[in-house]
C-alpha cells in the first residue's frame, strides 16, 4: 500500500508543482492520474520514489517512510517500485538484454555488477521477461534498433526485473502511436491482474482511462481536483472532463486515442 500524505513540491525557481496532495494506492489497484501537461503528474510520480525531493509531506510505502529514508533504505524501497517512462529512458546504445538486466541492480552486489557480472538466474529471468512481453528475439539487438512500442516493452521488462509490488508509469504511451497504446497498457493490465502489481499511471487519452482505470484522480495546477471510481469515470461526460482539465480544454476526437488537449 502506498500512502501519499499532504505532498507539496516547490521548485527552486518558486514554481509550485504540487500542493497538499494526498491519496492512497491500495494493493492491486490500477490508479490513473489525469491532468494537463504541467499539472504536476510527472513531479508526483517522481516524488514517490524520490527521483525528485518533495518539499513537504510524507510518502509511506508498505509502512516505510520514503521521505525519511536514508540512501541505502531508499535504494531498498526503490527496487520494489518499478518505473516506466514516456521516452522509455533506455540506454540507447546498450543491448536490449543489458537494459533489462539493469533492473536487477538494486539486488545484486555493487562490485560484481560494475563488471557486468550477474547471477545466472538473473539472465534467465531477463530472457523470461522479454519472452513474456513477446520480444525475446530482440534480446541481442541494440535498444535503439527497436521500434517505439518494442522499446517501451523493454522498459516494462526492466521494471519487471525488480520484482515490483507497484509500477509507476509516467505517460507510458504518450510518445507511441494510438494503436500501440492498447498493447502497452494491455501488458500493464496483465501484470496488474496476474501478478497483483499495483499500477500508478498518468495518462492523456480519455478512452484509455475509461478502459483500464480501476480508480482515477485528476490533477490541476498541482492539486487534486477529481477522485472517481471505475464506474464514475466510465460514465463521465465531456463537461465533467472539462472541469478537471479547465475550461479551455476541448475534447479532440481521434478515433481510438481520443484525448483532451489544452486550448487550441
Amino acid at each position: 500500500m502506498l500512502e501519499v500524505k499532504n505532498l507539496t513540491k516547490i521548485y527552486d525557481d518558486g514554481t509550485v508543482a504540487l500542493r497538499n496532495v494526498s491519496f492512497t494506492v491500495h494493493d492491486g489497484e490500477f490508479l490513473i492520474i489525469i491532468g494537463l501537461s504541467g499539472s504536476g503528474k510527472s513531479t508526483l510520480l517522481r516524488c514517490i520514489n524520490r527521483l525528485i525531493q518533495p518539499t513537504e509531506g510524507q510518502i509511506v510505502w508498505d509502512g516505510m517512510d520514503v521521505t525519511a529514508a536514508d540512501a541505502s533504505e531508499l535504494r531498498k524501497i526503490r527496487r520494489q517500485i518499478g518505473m516506466i517512462f514516456q521516452h522509455f529512458n533506455l540506454v540507447r546504445r546498450s543491448k536490449v538484454i543489458t537494459n533489462v538486466i539493469a533492473g536487477r541492480l538494486g539486488y545484486v552486489s555493487q562490485w560484481s555488477s560494475l563488471l557486468h557480472r550477474f547471477p545466472k538466474e538473473d539472465r534467465q529471468k531477463a530472457l523470461a521477461a522479454l519472452e513474456r512481453l513477446g520480444i525475446a528475439d530482440q534480446a541481442q539487438k541494440r535498444a535503439d534498433e527497436l521500434s517505439g512500442g518494442q522499446q517501451q516493452r523493454v522498459g516494462i521488462a526492466r521494471a519487471l526485473m525488480q520484482d515490483p509490488k507497484i509500477i509507476l508509469a509516467d505517460e507510458p504511451v504518450a510518445s507511441l502511436d494510438p494503436v500501440l497504446a492498447h498493447s502497452i497498457l494491455g501488458h500493464l493490465e496483465m501484470l496488474n491482474k496476474e501478478e497483483g502489481i499495483s499500477i500508478l499511471c498518468s495518462l492523456h487519452y480519455l478512452d484509455l482511462v475509461q478502459q483500464y482505470a480501476s480508480r482515477v484522480i485528476g490533477l490541476r495546477a498541482g492539486e487534486i481536483v477529481y477522485r472517481g471510481t471505475q464506474q464514475e469515470i466510465r460514465a463521465m461526460t465531456d463537461e465533467e472532463f472539462k472541469d478537471i482539465y479547465g475550461q479551455e480544454a476541448v475534447r479532440v476526437g481521434a478515433g481510438l486515442g481520443t484525448s483532451v488537449g489544452g486550448g487550441a
Binding site: 517522481r46 520514489n49 527496487r79 518505473m83 529512458n89 538494486g106 539486488y107
Partner: protein
Amino acid sequence: MRSNSEVRRRSRERPPSLTPAPVNGIASLVLPGLGQILARRIGRGLLILASLASIIGLLAWRIVALAHRQPTAVAMLIRALNRRPFFIGAMLVGTVLLWLWSAWDAYREAQPGQRGGAFIFVLILALFFGLGWQISEIDLYKAVTELSDTWPLLSKVLWPWGAATVQVTETMEAKAPIQVPCSDDPPAPPEETPGEPHLKAEPMCGNLSDLDEDNNVVPGTTLTLNGKNFDPEKETQIWWRPPTGGEFRIRQEREYVAVQTDDQGAFQIDVVMPYRLVPPSAKGPQIHFVIARQISDTGAVRLSEPLLLSIERMVETIFLGMMATAFGIVLAVPTSFLAARNLMSGSWLSIGVYYVTRGIMNIVRSIEPLIWVIIAAQWVGLGPFAGIIALTIHTIAALGKLYSEAIESIDAGPIEAIQATGATGLQTIMYAVVPQMIPPFVSFSIYRWDINVRMSTVVGLVGGGGIGFLLVQYIRLLNFRAAGIAVWFIAITVAILDYVSAEIRERFV
C-alpha cells in the same frame, strides 16, 4: 501580406538626391563616391571610394616595387611600364575608367527612377583580381614552359624504389704506413701474411703536396706502390687515410688513381702524395696510410639506408602520435568535465571555471601544433619528445572541447531510469552514463590519433622528430629518391590509418 509589399515598394522609391544629377556627377569626378553619397547612396559611395583608394594605393606599391631605383615618380612609372607594359597599362586604363565611371554612376543614381547598375562593381573586382594576379606573381607562361624541369625531381619522388636497395659489395684491401714528414724513426713496413693482400710503399715517408704563396701546387713525394695477392685482372683503387680520419681517393691529373692487377694479382704504380691541409697544431711526424682497395659486387642485394631509416622513423612517428594521443586523452578527460556546461552550471565559481577552461582551450587550440613544437623544442630539445609535447598540448584542447560537448549532450533519461531501479551512484554511472559516453569518446579519440599521426609527420619538419624530420633532411640534401621513400611511407601509413580509424569508428557509433 499587404504591409510587406508596401515595405518593398517604399524601399524602391528612394528619397531624392540632395543635389541635381550633374552636380553629383561632377562631385564624383572630384572625389569618387561623393556624388553617390550626395544622392543618399552612402554605402555605395563609401564602397566606391574605399575601392578606388585601395586600388590606387596597391598600384602605386606595385609600381614602386617594379622600379624602386628611379629618382622621380614619373621615371618610376616609365620604368614600370617598360618592365610590365600590359599589367601597368591595363591597370592605369582600368583605374581611370573606374574614376570616370563613378562620375557617370553618381549622375545616374541621382536621377529619379535610374540606377547606376552593377558594372562599376564588376570593374572594381576586375581591377582587384588584376592586382592580385601580379602581387602573387602568377606566371602561367613559366608554369607551362618550365614544367619539364620538375620531371627529374618528380619522377624520383613518385617512384623512389630504385634507392630502396643497394648492391652488397666486398672489399679487399691492404695498407701501408707513410710517415709525414720523414724522421729518424721510420715506421715499420706492414707484415706479410701468405695469401693475404699486401701493399708495400717506397719510400715509406715523405711530404704531402702543398700550395705555395701563389696557390700553385707543389707536388709531394712520389711513392712507388707494390701490391700483391690481390684479385687478378681487376681494378684497384688507391685511397689515402690521414691521421685525422676521413679517408679519400687519391686523384692525379683530376682523375681518380686506379690500377689494373696482373694475372698474378700484383700491381705497381707511382703515386704523388696528395694535398691535405695539416692543422698547425699537429707538430712532428705523423703516420698516414696509403690504401689499395678492390671493390667487387657479391650479387647480393640489401635494403638501403634510406629505406631502413624511413621504416624506423615511421614506426617512431606512429608511436609519437599514439603517445601524444594517450597523454592527450588522459589529460583531456578531466579538462572536459571542467568545460561541460551542464556539469559546471552549479555555482558562480564553477561557471567561472567553465569560462576560463573554455577560453584557455580555445586559445591553445587556435595555435597550430607547428608553433607548439618550436616552443617544446626550446624546452626539451629537438626530437620526438618535443613533438609529443606539442601534439599533446593541442590534443588536450581539441579533445577537451569534443569530449565536453559529448558530456553536454548526454541524455538524462537513462540516469533517472537506472536510479529508479535502486542502483547506487557508481552503478548509475556505469550503466547510464558510461554507455552514453564511451562511443563518442572512442570515436573522437581514434579520430584524434589519426590526426596526430598525420600531424606528427608535419611536426617533424620543424624538429619534432619522426619521419618528418628525416624527410626534411633528405630534401635539404637534395636526396629526392630517399625523400620519395619517406613520402611513400607517410602516404601509405596515413591511408591505412584513415581506413582503420574509419572502420573502428563505424563499429562504435
